[in-house]
Structures are given as structure tokens and as C-alpha cells.
């Protein structure tokens, strides 16, 4: 297999895990990333990674229970065999990370410590302080560096993926490489490969300020979509309940704060101006605990977010504003120590000490459940996936895979906390094997005519020249630029298509996006240098984000029901008869239109049931319950 190579695009957890597994099978990997891989967005994940463990098992938990929680948490929209496989594979992933040296928190006897997380009644989240994503990313980064040292991985850092190169049509379509650009020299060139893995993460920047890193534009996914890769369930965007708003982004305050006993509340009296520490317990409305006696503050994110949002919209937010308290001040120092990573972020950026005063938080865009459409090959009884089958997490294009947040496969309509790190690494390891087997079983791409590669490069160069020179015949506005367009897009998408959606507001947003696209078509860059031109890269990504934004709005408009993160005020109920289906968008490049269709969801193992997490009524005026919820 000496002359065969695999390309991995993206160096977060999914891309690095894939790189390690694919090189282990004997194939060399070319790893592309816009940032040094150690700085990928996975570094931001805080709370932990879920897996059944011996302690939980002896309390009645199991891999099957983890599977059922994930399906229920996702409001039954996820195909069940991939989730079954992932949750049953999870304990092996923890063991492997442990062997790689991840400094998981330990019990006094030296076993891995566990914490509670949303959507579960069992402690099944493994963690390293409150920077688990960072620690997992570093462990995989180290393993990839080792393989780089051995000459089995070639890193292309500061290189940007511009498009897949696809040979053939329809069922015969096969990805034979990519076009990428060196972000320093601005050189654009083609790279040949037997298979390509997209592991490029989410699209938070489509919503302007989110918890995502600056690189999470979704542009790589949009470029695949533009070239015929299907996009599934794009309307499902997770809005995390607890973030701190900032001038440049919204910073995440991990769910682990609640997992370790943090409580969300507002004063029972509207516009109570007292300092939070002066408000007695009976005059605080712990609305999540009162409405969800069983799960309390650890209801899944879509639910917590809507409840916080509703409290604020009803004028009950702290100081009458859009903020509620996330209170950790009652927790012992030893517990707070496990949260140091996020408490530092809060005090650094807000200036208050969360050990002493409750944090003020508000929901923020966090994660994309939707993404590139991928297939899977279930076992005959649907209890899991066929190991090594080349079809696992392959897109509709042969040899083009999508791993991690950029696919749509595991989280349905809402992702449970601490399942993202799991799905990324699972894809890399389990489906990385599929990539290796695909390469083994298929003819090499050496016969692909060079002209196909050259044409793709020429096409991207022309697209770039258009941005630099401005539109044919002039007419560009010297005061307009991609930064301004992207900002307006983000504000519009956040306003129209996040916690609460309606047909009228989504339509209005589509009109706005159309206007922004028209402005985009007239753009001309201020910076025309052919050296480290960041505004060129951003301008190109802005065009791709606009395409993705439009698709997200259209699929959201068409889904006339409420499910998981997708809440339509005009269709507040779940509608399984019409919408227990995956939405699949296909871009028609010739007409520039989005074609929407639906696919059945594989619900072979768990039948959909009512999803309300045991909700009961509670208002600020109802008497405070005598019972204090048990804190773990």
C-alpha cells in the first residue's frame, strides 16, 4: 500500500483519532488543518466524556442505558444502530485515553473519578478537571506527533481545505483528493488521495457570537455541500444553557458546574435589586429543580435553555435582563477545585469571583447536531454497526467520509453533554478502520486524469480572483466588507433561528440572507496581497457560511414540528407521523437551489415515547417546596 495515501481534513479529536487509527493500518496520512492541530476547537470542551463504568454498572446502569439516554435525549431523531455501537464502544475509548496518559481525575484509591451530567441519573462522565477536551486533544496530538516523528503522518498546518475533488457521477462518484491553500504563501494546489476524511467540526460562526472557536465557520462542510455532498438535519443547532456573553464571543460555563451541584435560579420577586447573597433561599426560584424534580438542573440542554429563555422573556431574569444565576457558592472547596478551569475563565473575563457570588449566565449557540449526511451499515439485528465495513460514516460520495461534529449521525435533535468527545473519538477509531478497509478494497486513484485536478485548482483560483478584483464591471461598495456582512448574518441567524423559531421570522431571515448574498456578490477586498491574506480567507468563508445559513433556515422552515433543539412556536408539538425523519438537503449547483427531502429514521430498538423528563408546573409565585433537592 506504499503509494496509497489518505487525507484527513481537520485536526480536532475526530481527525486526530482517525489519523492515528489509519496510520496504524499501514497507510500514510496527510493531515490538513487551518491551525496547528493542538489548537483545534476540541480544546474548548470542558465537562467530560461519557461511558458506562463499573461503579455505575453496579448501580443498575449499562451501555444499553447510555444508548437509551442518548436516543431519548436526542428526541428519537438519531438512527439507532450507530448510537448503539458508540455507547457500547465507549468504555474502550476511556481505557485507551487512560493508556495514552490523559490525567483523568482520580478517587483517593487511584481509580478514575466520575461526575454527573445532563440527561442521566448515573455518574458516567469521566473528566480531567474542567478542561477535559484540552486533555483529550493533547493526548491524541501527542500520538500524532509521535507518528509524524516516525514519518507516517505529514502535517499541513495553516492549510485550508477549499473543495473535494470528485470523479464520476451519481453512484459512481468517488472522491480522489482535495484542493487546499497554504494560508501563508496563498498557493492553491491539488492533493491526490485514495480516501478523504472530513473532520472539520461545527458551524457556530454562522450565528456570529457562539461558544465556538474562531475557525468554526462550517465553511469546509459548506464547500462539500456545494460540490454535491448531502447535508442532514441542519436545522438542529444546540444552544447551550450556560454561557457568559462577551464582546467577541460567548464563553461556555460547562454543564459540569451543574453536574457538581451548581444551581440555577432567579429571584422570585421580579426586578429584585438585592445582592444575590442577600436573597434568602425561600425567595429564590430554582425553576429547573421545581419544574423537573427528577433531573433538576441536569435536564438536557434544549430543555434547560428553553426554560432559562422563557424565564427571561417573562421578565423574570436577573435585574429584568437576559440573565439568570448559576450558583456554586454553596459547594465545598474540594468540589470547586475540580471546576478550576472554568471558574478561572469566569473571573478573568467577568471580574467576579464565582466562589463568592453566583455567576450570571445566558444561553449561547454551541453545537451542530446536523452536518454532512453519512451512511452506516448496521448489523443484521440493528444492535450496532458492522465493524470494519467501508460504508461506516461515508458520505454519499465514495471514499469521502465525515467524522465528528461535521456529520449528523449520533445526537439526533439534541446532544447530551459529554457525548461529543465520545462521538468524535468513536468515529476516528471505529470508522477510521472503515477508511483503511475502503482503501484496501478499492482501486487506487492513480488513474485519475491530471486534468480533473488541474480544473479544480483553476476553478478555485478563479473564485479567489473574483473576490480580489471585485465583480465584473465594477460596482463594489468601498465601505462594505466580509466582516460587516458576517456580523449581520450572525445577528440575524441568532435572532431568527435559535431557541424559538416561527415561519414568519424564518422567512424574514431568508429575505435578509438573500440581501446579504447580493452584497457579497459585489464584494471587493481591501487586502490584495498574496501573502498571509486573512481577509481573503475570511471573505471566502463568509460566502460559504451564507450558503449554510440559507440551508439551515430552509430546513427549519420546512420542519413544522418541535423536536429537541428545534422549537417552532407555531408548531409546538412533536409530530412523529410527519417528521420522525432525517431532513436531507442537496445543493443543485446549476440552479443554485437547495433540494430538500426526508429519510426514515432507524428506530428498530427503542420506540419513540413522550419526552418531558417528568416536568411538573411551577411559577415564581408558587410556594417554594420544602424539600431540598439532593445534591451529589
Amino acid at each position: 500500500m506504499a503509494d496509497k495515501r489518505v487525507i484527513v481534513v481537520g485536526g480536532g479529536l475526530a481527525g486526530l483519532a482517525a489519523t492515528v487509527r489509519i496510520t496504524e493500518s499501514g497507510l500514510p496520512v496527510d493531515l490538513f488543518s487551518v491551525v496547528p492541530v493542538k489548537r483545534s476547537h476540541s480544546v474548548c470542551a470542558q465537562g467530560g466524556i461519557n461511558a458506562c463504568n463499573e461503579v455505575a454498572r453496579q448501580q443498575g446502569y449499562s451501555e444499553y442505558e447510555h444508548f437509551d439516554e442518548t436516543i431519548y435525549g436526542g428526541d428519537f431523531l438519531a438512527d439507532q444502530p450507530p448510537v448503539f455501537e458508540m455507547t457500547h464502544f465507549a468504555p474502550k475509548i476511556i481505557d485507551l485515553l487512560d493508556r495514552m496518559g490523559v490525567p483523568f481525575n482520580r478517587t483517593p484509591e487511584g481509580f478514575r473519578d466520575l461526575r454527573l451530567f445532563g440527561g442521566s441519573l448515573y455518574k458516567r462522565t469521566h473528566f480531567a478537571g474542567a478542561t477535559t477536551g484540552q486533555q483529550l486533544l493533547y493526548a491524541l496530538d501527542e500520538q500524532v506527533r509521535r507518528r509524524e516523528d516516525e514519518g507516517r503522518v505529514t502535517k499541513y498546518e495553516h492549510w485550508e481545505f477549499l473543495r473535494p475533488i470528485i470523479e464520476g457521477q451519481g453512484d459512481q462518484a468517488r472522491c480522489v483528493g482535495i484542493v487546499a491553500q497554504d494560508l501563508r504563501t496563498m498557493q492553491i494546489r491539488a492533493f491526490r488521495a485514495e480516501a478523504v476524511v472530513m473532520a472539520t467540526g461545527g458551524c457556530g460562526l454562522v450565528f456570529g457570537k457562539s461558544t465556538n472557536s474562531i475557525v468554526c465557520t462550517g465553511a469546509a462542510a459548506a464547500r462539500c455541500y456545494r460540490h454535491g455532498v448531502w447535508y442532514a438535519n441542519g436545522e438542529f443547532i444546540q444552544v447551550h444553557p450556560t454561557a457568559i456573553p462577551g464582546a467577541d464571543k460567548c464563553r461556555l460555563m460547562s454543564e459540569s458546574a451543574r453536574g457538581e451541584g451548581g444551581r440555577v435560579w432567579v429571584p422570585r420577586r421580579q426586578s429584585d435589586t438585592r445582592h444575590p447573597n442577600d436573597i434568602p433561599a425561600g425567595e429564590r426560584w430554582y425553576f429547573l429543580e421545581e419544574k423537573y424534580p427528577k433531573y433538576g438542573n441536569l435536564v438536557p440542554r434544549d430543555i434547560a435553555t428553553r426554560e432559562i429563555f422563557k424565564v427571561c422573556m417573562d421578565g423574570m431574569g436577573v435585574g429584568g435582563g437576559n440573565q439568570v444565576y448559576l450558583d456554586l457558592t454553596h459547594l465545598p472547596a474540594s468540589t470547586l477545585h475540580k471546576l478550576d478551569g472554568i471558574l478561572e475563565i469566569y473571573s478573568k473575563f467577568v471580574g467576579d469571583d464565582p466562589h463568592k457570588v453566583p455567576m450570571k449566565i445566558f444561553p449561547a449557540v454551541h453545537y451542530s447536531m446536523g452536518g454532512l449526511w453519512t451512511r452506516h451499515v448496521p448489523k443484521a439485528d440493528h444492535r450496532g454497526l458492522e465493524p470494519g465495513n467501508p460504508g461506516q460514516m461515508m458520505t454519499n460520495i465514495g471514499g469521502l467520509y465525515a467524522f465528528g461534529e461535521v456529520n449528523f449521525a449520533y445526537h439526533g435533535a439534541n446532544r447530551l453533554g459529554a457525548n461529543a468527545l465520545l462521538s468524535c473519538i468513536f468515529d476516528g477509531l471505529f470508522c477510521g478502520q472503515s477508511v483503511a478497509n475502503f482503501v484496501r478494497d478499492n482501486a487506487p486513484t492513480g488513474a485519475t486524469p491530471q486534468a480533473l485536478l488541474d480544473a479544480a485548482v483553476a476553478d478555485e483560483s478563479a473564485r479567489q480572483d473574483r473576490l480580489i478584483r471585485g465583480p465584473e464591471g465594477g460596482g463594489s461598495d468601498p465601505n462594505d466588507n466580509a466582516y460587516l456582512i458576517a456580523r449581520e448574518m450572525g445577528e440575524e441567524m441568532t435572532a431568527a433561528s435559535t431557541v424559538v423559531k416561527t415561519a414568519a421570522r424564518l422567512q424574514q431571515a431568508l429575505t435578509k440572507i438573500a440581501a446579504l448574498k447580493a452584497r457579497y456578490a459585489r464584494l471587493r477586498l481591501d487586502d490584495t496581497a498574496m501573502w498571509t491574506n486573512q481577509s481573503l480567507a475570511f471573505a471566502r468563508a463568509t460566502g460559504d457560511m451564507l450558503l449554510l445559513a440559507e440551508s439551515i433556515l430552509l430546513t427549519g422552515l420546512a420542519r413544522k414540528e418541535s423536536r429537541g433543539s428545534h422549537y417552532r412556536e407555531d408548531f409546538p408539538d412533536r409530530n412523529d407521523a410527519d417528521f420522525l425523519r432525517t431532513s436531507v438537503s442537496k445543493f443543485d449547483a446549476a440552479g443554485g437551489t437547495h433540494q430538500l427531502s426526508y429519510q426514515e429514521v432507524d428506530t428498530a430498538l427503542v420506540k419513540p415515547r413522550v419526552r418531558n423528563y417528568g416536568k411538573v408546573e411551577s411559577t415564581a409565585k408558587s410556594a417554594a417546596p420544602a424539600r431540598q433537592p439532593a445534591l451529589t
Binding site: 483519532a17 487509527r21 496504524e24 491551525v35 496547528p36 493542538k38 489548537r39 483545534s40 476547537h41 480544546v43 481505557d95 485507551l96 487512560d98 495514552m100 496518559g101 490525567p103 481525575n105 482520580r106 487511584g110 481509580f111 478514575r112 478542561t131 484540552q134 486533555q135 501527542e142 500520538q143 506527533r145 501563508r184 472557536s213 474562531i214 456573553p245 462577551g246 464582546a247 467577541d248 464571543k249 460567548c250 464563553r251 435585574g319 435582563g321 437576559n322 440573565q323 478551569g341 475563565i345 473575563f349 467577568v350 450570571k360 449561547a364 456580523r487 441568532t494 435572532a495 431568527a496 431557541v499 421570522r505 481591501d526 487586502d527 501573502w531 498571509t532 491574506n533 486573512q534 412556536e569
Partner: protein, 274 residues
């Protein structure tokens, strides 16, 4: 209906303007110059939001149209290490550099410059390849057999985990290298293996020598730290530990590895294995 915009969590100051001076450079070997911008700042603004504003409004305070400044950034919450630069003469991450702290009064000036120990790519962006290369010199990884299931890793006391976790929060930002008098610019990659390796890599060698499987490579790490550019090149200025944003005990790591290297040398002299 509209989804609500969050309430600013820290209205410490009213909207106002500041002046931002940026050291600009069009590329390696090109001359540097300063450009100033008058920037309106909202409460809670940081260097990143200020740079974002300038990128969208690239006109100097003299009214001259210019190119948007180039800078490196990633997570914006001081965990990825990307956005390190020299702010008012001090190396740090720009995301956690808040305007209210740096320029509290109307019209105050902030000066932004790139790090000086790495080659400037353009404006505030530098090439830190050497920093990552030095992690390879000390084999900063655990040599596992492979990724197939083999059961769990070694058990570990909470005390040891605490030490390793702290060392493992190093985000390769480069602050310790910028502040170090012994770490000097080295544009030639061929010389990287013999020039001072830096506090971050010495500390990573300690991290992996502490792990039960990681220490299988301890001898090779100590060999790397014994040679030219190794731990003995440290001049004990102790600047590294003062500028580390993650408060990693870098001088403790240097001392620990210095002792290990000495012992390693003695053992090697007498032909004893580590």
C-alpha cells in the same frame, strides 16, 4: 419574535474610544511600521474584539485606508494558546486582555506587537513551528502499543494526577520562550536541535517521565536534555514562570529535570542503566 440578546454581564464602563497602535509588517524580511486606529469600545471589550472592529473598519486615525491587520487567534478563552502577542510590552494572550484593565480612560493608548522570538509571518502573526518541533526533541508522548483495546492504563494517586494535570495544561502559547533570555531567534531549522529547547519542552519531558508508561522513553528524553540546547542552557532568569498564563511551575520542572540529567550523566559514566 426575536431570540433575546444577552445582557452584558459587566457594565464596568460606558462606551468610549481608545487608540490602538499596531506594529505592522507585510511579510518576512519586510520593514515594520506602526499604524494607529481610533476604536470605539463597548463594555467587556478585549483585544480580540478591538482587532475585529479594526478589521471591519480598516482606516487609520489619520484617515488613511489600510489593510485589515493580521493576527492569530482560536478559542478566545485562553485555552488554545494561539493569540499570544506583546501587549504594552508584555507577552500574553490577547483574548484575556481586557480593555477596561489596559486602557481604563477615554483616549488611552494600547500598543500591540508580535512576539520577537519567532519569525513574523505578517503583522501580529508569528510562526511557532520551532516550539512544536521541540516537543518532538523530548518525545513528548506516551509510547502505547497501539489503539486496539488492551484494558485500562496504570492506576494513579490523586496527588500525582494533580501534578501531571497542571503540567499537561501547557497550551504551547510561547510566553515562556518570549520572556526567556536564553531562547533566542533561530531562523534556521537545521539549528533547532542544538539551540535552547525552552521551558515548555523541559516541563513536558518531566510530565511524560512521571507517567508509568511514558517513562519507558525517560532515557531518550534525558539524552535530549543533556546535549547542546538542553536543560543546562537555562540561565535561571526565572522569567518563564512569571509569564506563564497557566501558572505551570516551570522552574520546578527545570530543577527536577536538571537533577535527573545530572543523575543520568553519572549513571551513564559508570555504565549503569536508568
Amino acid at each position: 419574535m426575536n431570540n433575546g440578546t444577552p445582557t452584558a454581564s459587566k457594565p464596568r464602563s460606558a462606551a468610549r474610544s481608545i487608540t490602538v497602535r499596531i506594529k505592522r509588517c507585510d511579510g518576512p524580511g519586510k520593514p515594520a511600521r506602526f499604524e494607529s486606529f481610533k476604536v470605539p469600545v463597548e463594555p467587556g471589550a478585549n483585544i480580540i474584539s478591538v482587532l475585529q472592529w479594526i478589521a471591519a473598519h480598516p482606516t487609520t486615525d489619520g484617515g488613511q485606508r489600510t489593510t485589515p491587520p493580521v493576527w492569530d487567534s482560536g478559542c478566545l478563552e485562553e485555552v488554545c494558546g494561539a493569540c499570544t502577542m506583546v501587549i504594552n510590552g508584555k507577552v500574553r494572550q490577547s483574548c484575556s486582555a481586557l480593555i477596561d484593565d489596559l486602557a481604563p480612560a477615554e483616549g488611552d493608548t494600547i500598543t500591540l506587537e508580535p512576539m520577537t522570538k519567532f519569525p513574523v509571518m505578517r503583522d501580529l502573526m508569528v510562526d511557532r513551528s520551532r516550539l512544536f518541533h521541540n516537543l518532538r526533541r523530548v518525545k513528548a508522548w506516551v509510547p502505547i502499543d497501539g489503539t486496539y483495546n488492551q484494558g485500562s492504563g496504570p492506576r494513579e494517586s490523586p496527588e500525582k494526577q494533580e501534578v501531571r494535570y497542571t503540567l499537561s495544561t501547557c497550551m504551547s502559547c510561547g510566553c515562556c520562550l518570549e520572556a526567556c533570555p536564553q531562547f533566542t531567534p533561530e531562523p534556521d531549522p537545521a539549528a533547532w536541535n542544538t539551540s535552547f529547547i525552552g521551558a515548555h519542552a523541559i516541563s513536558q519531558a518531566r510530565l511524560f517521565n512521571l507517567h508509568d508508561t511514558g517513562k519507558e522513553l525517560a532515557t531518550q528524553r534525558l539524552d535530549a536534555l543533556s546535549g547542546p540546547g538542553g536543560v543546562s542552557d537555562c540561565g535561571n532568569a526565572q522569567n518563564c514562570v512569571k509569564v506563564c498564563p497557566k501558572k505551570i511551575p516551570l522552574t520546578e520542572s527545570i530543577a527536577a529535570m536538571g537533577r535527573a540529567v545530572t543523575l543520568h550523566g553519572v549513571k551513564r559514566f559508570f555504565g549503569v542503566k536508568d
